[in-house]
Amino acid sequence: MPVLPKRLSGFTVIPIAYPSSSHFIYARAHTPPKSKTSKSKNVLPEGRTLFLVNVPPDATERELTLLFKDCGTVERVLFDFNSADAPEEHESDSDEEVVEAAEESDTEARPRKKRKLQTSEPAPPKMMPLPSPSLRTLRKTGSCAHLIFLDSSSLAKALSPPTSPKPWPSSEEPRGLSHYMANYDNERPPLDTIKAHADSFMECFEFNLSKSKQEAKYRKGEAVVDEDGFTLVTRGGAYGQTLGGGVGVASKKFMLTGKIGGRKKKDKKKEKDAFYAFQKAEKQRKVILDMKKNFETDKQRIEKLKESRRFKPY
């Protein structure tokens, strides 16, 4: 058996023992891109973040945590973290998966929105989440993950090449058929849960809506009048939503292009195109030339077909 390299392009090769083969995870210390905002640094602290490549597609956070158990305690795992995609808004409102992943490790289920809204002054309504038991999420093969250790000393330990392949740990999330069954059942929660969820979401939604309305420049019930004294009307709802007053609705075309189409006038051609003799002659000539051109192209096509022995019927 050839000796496999321990390092590859700056990555440490971590072999994983599979039933009849070895899987390879490549690990490297996470280096944040230089020109990035402070935000992504917050998410992935330098010095204790391990960058993993070729994570098994069905890996769960728990499994990765177990894999690096002997290197130190893992704070959290981010799968497929792509800073370009990360929303630029509030952190907690960001990538649901990230939050979910973070929450999965928490034993006590904390309503998500609560945390976010702690800062805002008027007490917002609580949102009841739909139940989400821990199920595996499949990712594309060969994907990567960021592993954040609690302690920066663990990083070095993790990066030293292991002496022997580690077995792939297994967490209690179901796999295969039982996963699909569990998923099926999970997707069909009891009706009252759904009702609670939908109602609470709408309460939240209304609350946020009214809050944003207060902050918005346009207020309901007030006509928005620009400098020239025009009232702005937009489409919305089933019958059109007027931000201002009870005026008619802007046409769809206007909404899309911002141009006023004007009355549809029938554009009658003023010039006759066969008035002078030369026009007629040109036209005729053009017809004949077109005819010839068509004929020639037809002919070429047939020639080509002829070459392909098409015209031998049998």
């Binding site: 070729n54 929303p87 997707e187 937009t234 047939i302 019927p313």
Partner: protein, 1112 residues
């Protein structure tokens, strides 16, 4: 014809206007032909089907030598016929035997004198020969006039003429075969010994007379001179010229075919002259004749494997047809209907117009009813009534002596009419997607499975040949008599159920000159083309009870045998009738074939063993095994599903009071509700489900769409809309359950991370065991999604929200689902339902094609059901909106539809758009890509075509082997990996093409069976989708969605070689040991075994084993 030479005349300046000559040519091409390119194609075709110049000299050389030899053959003194046969037999030459054989004590004698006159006749003589089907050579008909002295006036009697002719031919054969180095054969057209000719073929490498280069064979035809002693008035159709010693037949029966056959020997030269005249008179005759022959040859009127009976060596008929069209009718008697006489065609017609006129005549003329008498110069030779009473089909030539159609069964003529009709339809409205010229002249129509609605293979070897001697004499051989009798009985029995019946048999093979009799036919194929309006009628009415003793009633009873019975019908009539009992729609589709079976059994003693079709095997493909039905204890079907759907709609509408918005519309979008699901849907009530083993438990969930009245109360935010839908569903679910006991409703949240997408569905599980999932259509979603995807589109944004790239991506996915599910799916559904109602065979075709595609692991994952439904519409609609079910080209049975779709798929150029006008309210171009955007990709289409090609081949074999199961068996050899799944946990396993009942009868295995009822649950497609999305760039997966228990996969070739390491490579890799230290690139390889281990892990509980087909 007008050869367009614009190439040389006008090369230098393209901008130059055309010369008058060119202009006229181009205009003519467009006006006188279908189109300019059609004319060019005709011009390209013609030289390919005409004899080449090469080798003519050698041929002429041979013909001269042959003439010189034949003149010098010594005369043979008169001998008694039996003695003459013995003499020749000693020399190894048989005399073609003609029925009735001469008795030993006849007084007349046979003799030989060298032929008088030699003449190359027929199409070769006129230079209008047309190439025959592949392999056959041009035939050069060489007539040799037998001296009059050999014949007596009474030779028309008892086949004496034919015996003399046979002897003459045998002497010629003997002499020529010894003198020349050529192969000699006898050929009896239609197996009729009276039409025997001597065939001379040049032997390959023969030193003296090698004319093989001319690709011809010489047919020696002994003919009678016009001054022969046989009086032609004795040969009029009504005359009886054969006396049969037996008592079974009436002593004097007219022998019209016999008479006609004698007359055929007299007019070869005359025909040559008149065709020559015609060729001079009609400039386009030659081309039109060639086109007509090519058209006919492609359809089996000529020679080949499966010929329509009666058209062998009937070249003169086609020339006669054109002559008739150009000369017009001869007046029949004093009939006042002379106004209806056909007007002769103009002489200046183009070849295409003449060809089309011939087709038009063939399509419209009813040969069984109206006789055709070509205009003659001297009036009728015999009373036309004689023909009319004694021949079933009449087409009398311009000399008024010969009926071309005397031995052509009416069934073949019906088929000819039908084919002409079909071609005319194609020519008069060329479909956008099909190539009319190719359909007309280039494609051979010998694939009987796609040509006929039903194909019946009959083995005649055991048929009882109870035809009377007189019929055998009249038809020339017992085979011919049998086939004529089958043809007429079937035609009467099927009546207007069919548009055409084809009796197909291989062309009569040549036989060595040592054999006296033509080999007999044992296998024939009967092809039926249904008339959809009548084909599946349940009752055949006969004459009423009052005229029990009339001839009509007797004939009716004779035709149907014991099946004919007196019945009283609802309207009070009491008639003789035949009732066909059917219980299923499949059986109803079999009625015409059952009629054929019954008639063949009754009249010819052919049991089911000898009369076989592919219908039942095809039906079985679409049915579940019997014990599955027993275990399910339910009767399903599309009708039942539709009733259940109506029930759900009714109970939903009844909730009106309890819902905040009124329900406007419920639209079905499922194949189960439009008759196109491969298997009839089966309901499974919860109580039954618990008892069923897992592999029988599949219950399809039928999607439907709910549309509520418009309201301004909807929030203007996508996420909120989805939640409102949830709330809606909850209300509906609660009230449905309270108003319908036994009904269960739940909400499937769909569990998607895409916040814009309406994954949630209301699942309704009725008491009878049907499962529906309802979606709410809210049209505001489209606008909102649009705004996210393309903010620039909105002039005024109502909110100042900005969306990032990920959200836009998600919105795009959501929008695609939205348009597909809410806009296209209902429209598609309506269009398909219409098709199903309009074309009775459509749904069966779709079901078969789906089954076939599924069996080859392509359906769903690679080709969507909707795309298949559209493709299957092609043979029915053919690119034309206006086609009706009665159009000639429309298939009327699912087997034929299936075969036509296969044919289409075989040479489907998927890069060319396929345009069908299915959706009435919409330009058609926008729809199809909706259903093909997710595949098939190039690999899948390539495979698809390969399978189709293979299947067409198998299907053609199936016509003889009757094994169609192999069509649906999939070879796994070309997959790199085959993942074997555990069939006991697959709820659809019972639909597997090779389902083994042991899987669900093994009750001991119930350890895995769960008691929870999960409607619509099927792990295979979810697992497959998971695998495909996980390993999208590594492997391509295939599986049979209908109960497949294996998944096949191929490694994508792009990952075969080592490549440099990259962090975001997107595949599972293993590092390669560095061999060369100098190389600084770190190479990695695809880690195949690890991937397989992972697949095994992902499919825990499903995967039994993974078989690898290649060395790792």
């Amino acid at each position: 014809m007008n050869q367009v030479d614009s190439e040389n005349t006008n090369r230098q300046g393209r901008e130059e206007p055309l010369t008058g000559h060119e202009l006229r040519d181009i205009k003519d091409a467009a006006d006188l032909y279908q189109s300019g390119s059609f004319k060019l194609q005709i011009d390209a075709l013609l030289p390919n089907v005409r004899p080449k110049e090469s080798g003519r000299q050698q041929l002429d050389h041979f013909l001269f030598a042959l003439r010189a030899h034949c003149i010098s053959i010594p005369s043979i003194a008169p001998l008694s016929p039996l003695a003459a046969i013995k003499v020749l037999a000693k020399q190894g030459v048989a005399v073609p035997s003609v029925f009735p054989l001469p008795s030993p004590d006849v007084k007349w004698k046979v003799a030989f004198e060298p032929p008088r006159e030699f003449c190359v006749v027929g199409s070769w003589g006129n230079g209008i020969a047309v190439k025959k089907q592949s392999g056959s050579r041009f035939s050069v008909d060489l007539s040799m006039e037998m001296p009059e002295a050999l014949f007596q006036e009474k030779d028309y009697l008892d086949g004496r003429f034919f015996h003399k002719k046979s002897y003459y031919l045998a002497v010629l054969a003997q002499s020529i075969s010894t003198a020349f180095d050529v192969d000699t054969f006898y050929s009896s057209a239609l197996g009729d010994p009276r039409l025997t000719t001597l065939v001379l073929r040049s032997r390959n490498g023969s030193a003296s007379y090698d004319f093989s280069k001319s690709h011809t064979e010489v047919h020696v035809i002994p003919v009678l001179s016009s001054s022969s002693p046989l009086s032609s008035s004795r040969l009029f159709p009504s005359h009886s010229n054969v006396r049969v010693p037996s008592s079974s037949s009436p002593p004097n029966f007219p022998t019209p075919i016999y008479n006609n056959t004698i007359l055929l020997s007299t007019c070869a030269k005359e025909a040559l002259m008149s065709t020559h005249e015609l060729k001079n008179a009609l400039p386009a005759f030659h081309d039109a004749y060639t086109l007509l022959r090519v058209w006919a040859n492609q359809r089996g009127y000529g020679d080949g494997e499966l010929c329509a009976r009666g058209f062998e060596r009937k070249g003169s008929f086609w020339a006669g047809l054109l002559r008739y069209l150009s000369l017009g009718d001869e007046l029949v008697g004093t009939k006042s209907g002379s106004a209806k006489l056909r007007k002769p065609l103009g002489k200046g017609l183009s070849s295409y117009q003449l060809f089309k006129a011939a087709l038009d005549f063939l399509a419209k003329h009813k040969f069984g009813e109206t006789p055709v008498f070509t205009k003659t110069t001297n009036g009728h030779r015999c009373a036309p009534e004689e023909y009319i009473t004694h021949h079933p089909a009449i087409f009398v030539d311009a000399t008024s002596t010969i009926n071309f159609l005397s031995d052509v069964p009416l069934t073949s003529l019906d088929l000819l009419s039908h084919d002409a009709k079909e071609t005319l339809e194609q020519l008069s409205n060329p479909g956008a997607s099909s190539d009319t010229f190719a359909d007309c002249f280039l494609k051979s129509r010998f694939k009987i499975s796609s040509r006929f609605d039903a194909v019946i293979r009959v083995n005649l070897s055991q048929a009882s040949r109870n035809q009377s001697t007189s019929t055998v004499i009249e038809h020339g051989s017992s085979d011919a008599a049998l086939l004529a009798s089958i043809s007429s009985l079937l035609r009467r029995g099927l009546g207007n159920r069919t548009q055409a019946i084809a009796i197909l048999q291989p062309v009569t093979p040549y036989r060595p000159i040592s054999s006296a009799e033509s080999p007999s036919t044992s296998i024939i194929h009967i092809g039926l083309i249904y008339d959809p309006a009548h084909a599946f009628r349940l009752v055949d009415h006969g004459p009423s009870a009052e005229d029990q003793d009339s001839n009509v009633a007797k004939e009716f009873r004779y035709l149907w045998g014991s099946r004919a019975e007196l019945r009283r019908f609802k309207d009070g009539r009491i008639t003789e009738s035949v009732v066909w009992e059917v219980t299923t729609s499949d059986e109803r589709a079999h009625i015409p074939v059952s009629i054929v079976r019954h008639l063949l059994q009754l009249h010819f003693g052919l049991s089911a063993k000898y009369v076989r079709t592919l219908q039942t095997p095809f039906d079985n493909i679409l049915q579940l095994p019997d014990d599955v039905h027993r275990l399910h204890r339910a009767t399903g079907g599309c009708k039942a599903a539709l009733t259940a759907f109506d029930g759900v709609v009714r109970s939903l509408k009844a909730l009106d009071e309890q819902l905040p918005l009124a329900l406007l519309n419920v639209s079905p979008i499922s194949e189960y509700l439009r008759y196109t699901s491969t298997f009839a849907p089966l309901p499974i009530p919860a109580s039954v489900s618990a008892e069923l083993p897992e592999s029988l438990r599949f219950l399809p969930t039928i999607p439907i769409i709910l549309e509520f009245e418009k309201s301004s109360k909807w929030p203007d935010d996508l996420k909120a809309i989805q939640k409102i839908k949830l709330a809606f569903f909850e209300t509906i679910a609660q009230s449905l359950m309270s108003s319908n006991p036994g009904l269960k409703a739940s909400i499937a949240t769909g569990g998607s991370s895409n916040p814009f997408q309406g994954y949630a569905a209301l699942e309704i599980f009725t008491a009878e065991g049907w499962s529906f999932s309802a979606f709410i259509w809210h049209d505001r979603e489209a606008t909102l999604l649009d705004r996210i995807i393309d903010p620039g589109k909105m002039f005024v944004s109502p909110s100042d929200q900005k969306y990032n790239a990920r959200e836009q991506r998600e919105a795009k996915v959501a929008q695609e689902l939205y348009t597909r599910r809410f806009i296209y799916a209902p429209r598609h559904h309506r269009a398909i339902v219409n098709l199903c109602h309009k074309y009775s065979a459509y749904s069966g075709t779709v079901r078969l094609v789906k089954r076939w595609l599924a069996a080859h692991w392509l359906l769903h994952t690679h080709v969507s059901e909707e795309a298949i439904e559209i493709i299957c519409a092609l043979p029915f609609v053919g690119g034309k909106q206006t086609s009706t079910e009665s159009a000639a080209a429309v298939p009327h049975s699912k087997e034929r539809g299936f075969s036509l779709v296969l044919e289409f798929l075989t040479d489907w150029d998927w890069k060319e758009p396929l345009c069908l006008t299915l959706y009435e309210d919409d330009p058609p171009a926008t729809a199809p890509e909706m259903w093909t955007s997710n595949g098939p990709d190039a690999i899948a289409v390539h495979r698809l075509r390969a399978f189709a090609r293979e299947a067409s081949k198998v299907l053609r074999n199936a016509e003889t082997e009757l094994d169609i199961k192999s069509l649906f068996l999939h070879s796994t050899d070309d997959y790199d990996i085959v993942i074997q799944l555990n069939p006991t946990v697959l709820p659809r396993y019972h639909q597997n093409i090779n389902a083994e009942s042991s899987v669900w009868t093994r009750d001991a295995h119930s350890g895995i069976t769960e008691s929870t009822h999960r409607p619509g649950f099927d792990p295979l497609p979810i697992f497959l989708a998971d695998l495909q999305s996980t390993y999208a760039d590594t492997l391509k997966f295939f599986a049979d969605p209908f109960g497949g228990d294996r998944i096949g996969a191929i490694w994508l070739p792009s990952l075969g070689a080592p490549r440099p390491f990259r962090a975001l490579a997107g595949f599972s890799s293993k590092p390669l040991a560095k061999e060369d230290k100098a190389k600084d690139k770190d190479l990695v390889m695809l880690n195949r075994q690890a991937v397989l281990d992972e697949i095994g892990r992902l499919g825990t509980g499903l995967v039994q084993k993974i078989i690898v087909h290649e060395p790792m």
